[in-house]
């Protein structure tokens, strides 16, 4: 028999900042979960299971922190699953939770992802020690910059494209009260004059390091019928992985990303993503990844992604708004960043994105990636229930 349709009826997130010194890890996650329950007008007792995700445990220095968080998330006496798929984890966590409803194992599931990066130093946490890796890299930027340069060389994109993305996303973040960075005085010139960190990635083209959490309530048709606000419906979801390094790997446009998007579009009946999708929340930790992912996800032909950015198509009032929330460039609690993309896509089709609402958004894509451009998770959500 067919899968149970899955609805998102509650979304909550924290006000993301560099350091939430006023709350414990438990306090942080409970804040997001409480807001999601409030949005869905449910209580802890309505939750059948909890699926939690975060990136490496070293970021907070707590091994398997879900054990300690069981009480704070109302999970005592319930099933609790902990997902970890690197940077894509926020998205993967939501998909694991969605499958619990789709398989009719549970009716209503709380899913949550978080990172409290102020507890340690994420950049050095991501710089693997000898003997695992040569001591050549400083953080994720050091890993991804060469692939950005490969993209620029391949496509001949003008040097300024990255700064356009950063300037757009940081301005979108001004409309999002939960975003970490609210840079009111930012100009394009300031982005372009900011210090070079990993050529060609400048300081203002790099994601911040944030403390934050994101939570969603996923439920079945019965739950959706009782929801106080319009739900978002899951029309497709998929994960794909490929190895970190191998001869022939295309770091600029990884096959796993293409396959993952193709699977999601097939499930959702999308044949022309550029025309049929109204808003995209994609994982862009370094500005240039917007044009790169536009191509990888099938919104532009190979080599053409930067033209969409340059012509303003991806602006909030453009033809294909990308990262209306301000994206990872404005908010990056790593473990939660993927779920924030998924949640922001859902907010758009629910019409509840506030000032950064895309007019008439009916179908939106949430995208996350992680590791060495090797782990991908995506979902496509719609304002209408999927055809069963």
């Amino acid at each position: 028999m067919s899968k149970e349709p899955v609805a998102v009826t509650g979304i909550g997130q924290t006000h993301h900042v560099a350091a939430r010194r006023d709350v414990s890890i438990a306090g942080l996650v409970r804040e997001a979960a409480g807001r999601a329950l409030e949005d869905a007008q449910l209580t802890w007792a309505d939750i059948d299971a909890v699926v939690i995700g975060k990136a490496p445990d070293f970021f907070e220095g707590v091994m398997m922190p879900e054990l300690y968080l069981a009480d704070a998330l109302g999970a005592v006496g319930k099933p609790m699953l902990r997902v970890h798929t690197a940077g894509s984890v926020g998205g993967s966590t939501a998909l694991v939770a969605a499958n619990l409803v789709a398989a009719r194992v549970h009716r209503t599931v709380l899913t949550l992802a978080f990172e409290k990066q102020s507890e340690s130093n994420a950049m050095w946490g991501l710089s693997l020690p000898i003997p695992f890796q040569q001591p050549l890299l400083a953080g994720a930027g050091g890993f991804f910059a060469p692939h950005i340069r490969a993209y620029m060389r391949r496509t001949g994109a003008p040097d300024t494209i990255g700064s356009l993305v950063a300037y757009k996303d940081r301005r979108n973040a001004l409309k999002n009260p939960y975003a970490h960075l609210h840079e009111t005085g930012l100009t394009l010139e300031k982005v372009q004059a900011s210090p070079m960190l990993w050529d060609p990635v400048r300081y203002s083209e790099t994601c911040p390091s944030s403390d934050g959490a994101c939570a969603m309530i996923l439920t079945d048709r019965t739950g959706a019928a009782r929801a106080p606000h319009p739900p978002a419906w899951v029309h497709g979801g998929a994960m794909r992985s490929e190895p970190t390094l191998f001869a022939g790997k295309d770091f600029v446009s990884p096959q796993a990303g293409k396959d993952c998007a193709a699977d999601v579009y097939r499930q959702a009946g999308i044949t022309d993503p550029r025309r049929e999708i109204d808003a995209v929340e994609m994982y862009v930790p370094f500005s240039w990844y917007e044009p790169m992912w536009l191509e990888n996800l099938g919104f532009a032909e190979e080599g053409e992604g930067w033209k969409l950015t340059e012509s303003g198509v991806t602006e909030l009032d453009g033809d294909l708004p990308v990262n209306p929330s301000g994206g990872v460039l404005s908010t990056n609690p790593i473990g939660a960043s993927g779920m924030l993309r998924f949640a922001e896509a859902a907010l758009q089709v629910r019409g509840r994105a506030g000032e950064h609402q895309v007019d008439g958004a009916r179908r939106a894509l949430g995208h996350a990636y992680g590791g060495g451009s090797q782990f991908f998770s995506m979902w496509l959500v719609g304002a209408e229930p999927p055809a069963v």
């Binding site: 707590v62 398989a103 794909r240 992985s241 490929e242 699977d263």
Partner: protein, 367 residues
């Protein structure tokens, strides 16, 4: 078929799909595997388990693993292990930072949705590079408990003493559990401790050396398949009739350490109490924890008399952290496949003093 989660909060409609364990493989579990990387430890196990089904790596629809960065001592340690799978062309894949039993749970759910027909589940853990007792203190409440560094043996000893104080066991009975487990392990070529070991000196009273699991490195893998695919891949699939897991409060002070309500609830949801099993593979790293689990699962009652407990030797014979729970499911399934069991319970645990527990009920078709 009894569903995994019926009742008030259970599913609204619909029979679930039949899913079975069709193959199980594991490494030899050793005190130290310093000579091999995680990938080198894992690859032979993966090749073995997949070849048992006649499938090729590319035929597997979904892959899910369980492991811990804290054991490996590096972030994203599972990304390298993926090299052991051969994820090219790209695969549909996920990972839990939990024992592999929970990776199996995620894969089982994936098969129930109908999105996959087969799944590869694996888990691995190398405890040898660090001091496991110290490492495991890092999974405690970081504000109130972890700063005190109470280690895993000390916490298990608190639980054992609570059982003794309540008159539920004594050191003789615990030694009996240790002896039974390691004697059983004589027939298990993968076990780390085989044959009787002396009770030894107290490690943390009242637990003696013999009450504690060996510290070691190892890996395990299973293949899951749905419906007729399972029948095609295996002569006697071990059907997962029920699978559920539950977590308890973290603070030991608010728990009754002599009981395991989460195990009992998971077992109820998995349909375990509907009729007797003939085999129980319990993930009890300490002898005293088997006492707790037997109580929760009513294995000491009249129905428990005919139950073979831990014929593999259990975690007292080999306890590769992050894989030991998955091994319980694999061992139970392997007995069903060999025709040595018709209905078996398999259990996995995580966290201090059995905080989180998973129960599976496996059955072979009537011959």
């Amino acid at each position: 078929m009894p569903g995994p989660s019926t009742g008030p909060s259970g599913p609204s409609t619909g029979p679930l799909r039949e899913v079975a364990i069709v193959a199980f493989g594991q490494s030899d579990h050793v005190r130290s595997s310093a000579e091999t990387s995680e990938v080198e430890m894992l690859m032979p196990v993966l090749h073995d388990v997949v070849s048992r089904t006649g499938l090729k790596a590319g035929d597997i629809d979904f892959t899910c693993s369980g492991s811990s960065d804290y054991l490996a001592g590096r972030a994203f340690s599972f990304t390298m292990a993926l090299d052991g799978v051969g994820a090219w062309p790209p695969i549909s894949e996920s990972h839990v930072e939990m024992d592999g039993a929970w990776a199996l749970y995620e894969a089982w759910v994936k098969l129930l949705t109908g999105e996959a027909e087969t799944a590869l589940v694996y888990a691995y853990g190398k405890s040898s590079p660090g001091d496991l007792r110290e490492v495991l203190t890092r999974q405690l409440d970081p504000y109130y408990l972890a700063p005190l560094w109470p280690d895993s043996v000390a916490l298990a000893a608190l639980q054992a003493q609570a059982l003794i104080d309540a008159g539920l066991t004594d050191q003789g009975a615990l030694a009996g559990i240790a002896a039974r487990s390691r004697t059983a392990a004589e027939a298990n070529p993968h076990a780390q401790l085989r044959g009787a070991v002396p009770a030894g000196d107290p490690v943390v009273a009242p637990l003696r050396t013999g009450d504690c699991p060996p510290i070691g490195d190892g890996a395990a893998a299973v293949v899951l398949a749905a419906g007729d695919t399972a029948r095609r891949l295996c002569d006697r699939p071990a059907w997962i009739r029920g699978l559920d897991h539950r977590i308890e409060a973290h603070a030991l002070g608010v728990r009754d350490l002599t009981d395991s309500p989460s195990t009992r609830l998971a077992a109820e949801r998995a349909g375990y109490f509907a009729r007797p099993v003939d085999t129980a593979e319990l993930h009890a790293p300490f002898t005293s924890q088997e006492v707790v689990l037997r109580r929760a699962l009513a294995l000491d009652g009249p129905d428990g008399a005919g139950v073979r407990i831990n014929p593999s030797g259990g975690a007292l014979a080999a306890n590769p952290v992050m894989a030991a729970g998955l091994i319980r499911l694999g061992e139970a399934a392997a007995r069903i496949q060999r025709g040595e069991s018709d209905r078996a319970l398999a259990h996995a645990t995580s966290g201090p003093c059995l905080q989180q527990n998973l129960v599976a009920v496996l059955e072979g078709e009537t011959r």
